[in-house]
């Protein structure tokens, strides 16, 4: 299923492509295995197993969508049974025709999907601005009121007496016929969610989850992303609801207990975040568990809760972490970062424009502290501008103002002839401004390659729908991003680690990942926040060469650093800050002999 999203790299993309097919197959093989098992079930089982299998498939239709919300975006949606309920009642009421003329079951299912998608977004609205507990609460609240409404709105839902579930036409009206329908739909939603997960949208979701600030700097718009997956997850849940109602043949509000919500949610956590196979196994295990331990059925929610606690406290990675054999192999301990700046010429477009980044009279204070007080700064294309000064002199704050995390209270910023609006960090990437962070902000659970690919998110052209359906433009995007990211990893000297989980790397390697990620944009301006901190002497020298090579391609570099040697070595211009004001500005030769700078900062 997932295989469709990963076409082989073409050999002319300067990428070693042998084994890409094999890698894609290895990814997809377990899913095909599961599908084959699902198709073989009728050979071994009776109608009882058809019921269990159907239930599993229906649950998975919901969980495959919810997985993008919980497992990828990291939003704790605990009340998704509400959307199942909504879908079940919408389908049943439309088919029963007790409100309006009866509708055939498949169109009714489609209408339910639309309704579910809309409510998926409404319930998700708090997640756009707030994290975790608020969203968990809004889904819980929604679950509470949907049940109340189903009970109280008797003219439509039948209240506590309930309503008949929809019946599917032949050949789906037998136990096994319906089973195959559900497995088919489950396969389709698996394919959809795998497409999203493996596209730039899936990576962006994880980036927002684990490194939100860095995600903004690469131009990822969190609200747009989340709304897209809330639509998808809501639609999946409602379709699952329609199928569920049919399986139940008759539905009352009692059928939709909160236990179901817990099952969906815990299946994902047991499976592991950022995985599709894990939650699939989790769903199967949790569906079967009460069946094989019938005396415990009454305690099933209690067992789920215990499982949840154990997972959280003991193995936060879930099943997916257990199955991740690739990242068990030890890494070489004596590895060195050897950048190859010369290779930049093949990857990064040469900049020709002469638009400069100019700051005039920028002022910003936090309370009574003037962090920056009337700062003028020019970064010219193709030049390296050093920004130095003691701790607390406003260097990082300046970077944050340029990249939009802080809105300056006074002054102007211009890029060429255009004003650069204050605030709005997510719009900087599109303007050609990339940056790194003082503490590397890298997604630990993603591979090094994926981390770098995130830097090129705004370069992708496929829309969410194209990615969802794995249409050609998405395939082109993926090929382009992966090829460029691999090439840039070669430039920064990390190509041997492309497929390793980023949280296994050393600090210095993370710094170079951030640089590669920033270069994915072909930036006009690159802001580096203490890139040499924590690097060895050799590594600092190589970093210097790399930065020089980047600026030689026409990129303007603004370098905040404490290593005076590096600054004086590679910068064309230097600005010295002290207490938010410019102490001195000029060429390295001028700064080196500037009296106040020497006494205030350099020493000697």
């Amino acid at each position: 299923m997932a295989v469709v999203t990963t076409s082989p790299e073409r050999s002319d993309a300067a990428v070693p492509d042998s084994g890409t097919w094999r890698a894609a197959l290895t990814h997809a093989a377990p899913f095909f295995g599961m599908l084959v098992l699902a198709l073989l079930l009728p050979l071994v089982g009776n109608d009882y197993w058809a019921l269990i299998g159907t239930r599993m498939a229906i649950y998975w239709v919901l969980v495959s969508g919810l997985n993008l919300v919980v497992g990828f975006a990291g939003h704790l949606a605990i009340g998704y049974v509400a959307l199942l309920t909504l879908g079940a009642y919408t389908t049943s009421v439309l088919v029963a025709g007790n409100v309006m003329p009866a509708v055939p079951v498949f169109p009714a299912l489609a209408v339910a999907a639309v309704v579910g998608a809309i409510f998926g977004v409404i319930v998700g609205l708090p997640a756009l601005r707030l994290r975790t507990f608020y969203f968990a609460m809004s889904t819980l609240g929604f679950a509470t009121i949907v049940t109340q409404i189903a009970l109280a709105w008797q003219s439509v839902t039948g209240g506590g007496i309930g309503i008949a579930g929809p019946e599917f036409p032949a050949p789906f009206n037998t136990a096994w016929g319906f089973y195959f329908l559900c497995v088919g739909i489950a396969t389709f939603t698996t394919w959809l969610s795998a497409n999203v997960a493996r596209s730039r949208y899936g990576r962006a979701l994880i980036a927002v989850r684990d490194a939100e600030v860095a995600a903004e700097a690469t131009g990822i718009s969190k609200p747009k992303m989340l709304i897209a997956i809330f639509l998808l997850a809501g639609a999946c849940a409602a379709v699952a609801g329609g199928l569920f109602a049919s399986l139940q043949t008759y539905i009352t509000p009692d059928a939709f207990t909160f236990d179901l919500s817990v099952l969906f949610f815990i299946a994902i956590l047991i499976g592991g975040r950022g995985s599709i196979m894990g939650p699939l196994l989790g769903t199967i295990i949790l569906t079967i568990l009460p069946e094989i331990a019938a005396p415990l059925a009454a305690w099933s929610t209690f067992l789920y809760a215990v499982l949840l606690l154990v997972i959280v406290l003991v193995m936060p990675g879930g099943i997916a972490a257990l199955l991740d054999f690739r990242n068990r192999k030890p890494l070489a301990s004596n590895r060195a970062i050897v950048p190859r700046p010369a290779a930049l010429a093949d990857i990064v477009r040469r900049r020709t424009g002469d638009n400069a980044l100019a700051l005039r009279g920028i002022a910003l204070s936090f309370g009574n502290v003037k962090a920056i007080d009337g700062l003028d700064l020019d970064v010219a294309p193709g030049k390296i501008h050093g920004l130095i000064g003691p701790n607390g002199s406003g260097k990082t704050t300046t970077l944050n103002v340029i990249s939009g995390y802080y809105a300056a209270k006074g002054g102007t910023m211009t890029l060429g002839d255009d004003a650069l609006p204050p605030g709005m960090p997510a719009l900087r990437a599109a303007r050609g401004i990339a940056r790194t962070f003082q503490t590397p902000r890298v997604i630990g659970e993603a591979s090094v390659l994926q981390n770098v690919m995130i830097g090129g998110t705004v370069e992708g052209r496929a829309t969410f729908v194209e990615s969802l359906l794995a249409l050609p433009r998405n395939t082109q995007d993926e090929r382009m991003l992966a090829g460029k990211a691999r090439a840039l990893l070669g430039v920064v000297g990390l190509d041997g680690l492309a497929d390793v989980r980023a949280d296994r790397l050393q600090h210095s390697e993370l710094r170079f990942i951030e640089i590669a990620r920033a270069l994915m944009l072909d930036p006009d301006f690159l802001l580096l926040d203490e890139p040499a901190a924590g690097l060895s002497g050799d590594e600092i020298d190589r970093l210097g060469e790399l930065i020089k090579a980047v600026s030689a391609r026409g990129t303007g570099v603004l370098l905040v650093e404490h290593h005076a040697d590096l600054i004086f070595d590679i910068c064309h211009q230097i600005t010295v800050l002290n207490l938010g004001r410019i102490l001195a500005a000029g060429t390295p030769a001028e700064i080196r002999v500037h009296k106040e700078v020497v006494s205030a900062y350099l020493g000697g």
Binding site: L125, F133, S138, L140, T144, L269, A305
Partner: protein, 285 residues
Amino acid sequence: MLASIIAAGLASGAIYALVGVTYNTMFSTSRVMSFTAGQLAMLGGLFGSMFTLKLGLPLILGFLLTLVCCAIIGIITEFIAVRPVLKNLDQHLYVLSTLAVALMIQQVAAIKWGTEPQPFPRLLGLGSGVWDEKFWLPVLACVVTILGLEYLYRRTLVGRAFLAIAEDNFAARALGLPERNLRIASYALAGIIGGVAGYAGGELLLAFFANGALLNFYGFVPVALGGLGNNRGAIVGGFALGLFQQAANFLVGGIFSSVAVFTLFIVVLLAAPQGLFGGATARRV
């Protein structure tokens, strides 16, 4: 009609406010929003019903035993669901661990006391109509709790230590405050406040296991309205929510009053994410 709306609104508002204070009490010493808040109130009702009605204990003894049991549940929560996840607070694992404990409590309650609402004893037998005790008892409990908390926080050393930890955990520890013990104490206190809410509201809500999830949500709305950790905000928000809900109940009917509450919740969160009385956001970069 207006009188009954106000009476029912103030009564349910007082319960919501107390659950909100329960959230805040746990939050203040641990920075953890715990899903057990509503469950504690639910248990207040169930324990009260069990001790007084089933076991036939004297009113006062039953009440005290209820509070003790709730306090113990609060302490257990601290030990198994809060302490282990405090190390990485930024991963928000507490949402999951406290949810797990809340689910366990709810399931045990459902199995032990059944899934039907249980009767709650008539406590004093005072008043009728809009002056029935089931309306004014929760309000009285809320007022007494607020006064008690004010006394605790302003006049006692322990209370001031609570405030110190809520204000700045690191500085408080540097001063030598026993942070861990104070945290345990605050969870016990939260258990007691939740127990009071459930006990005082027992005649209104009955002893019903599903009240836990309901109060989790309706008790959180005032916290969201008032800002995390802000007791004054939670109390104002709680009463406002109760009145709003009852007014909506009267105006648009039972089906849509909960929709109205949910809409209010979403709108407030979108318009004022930090709550109407909340503070500024933390530094991100």
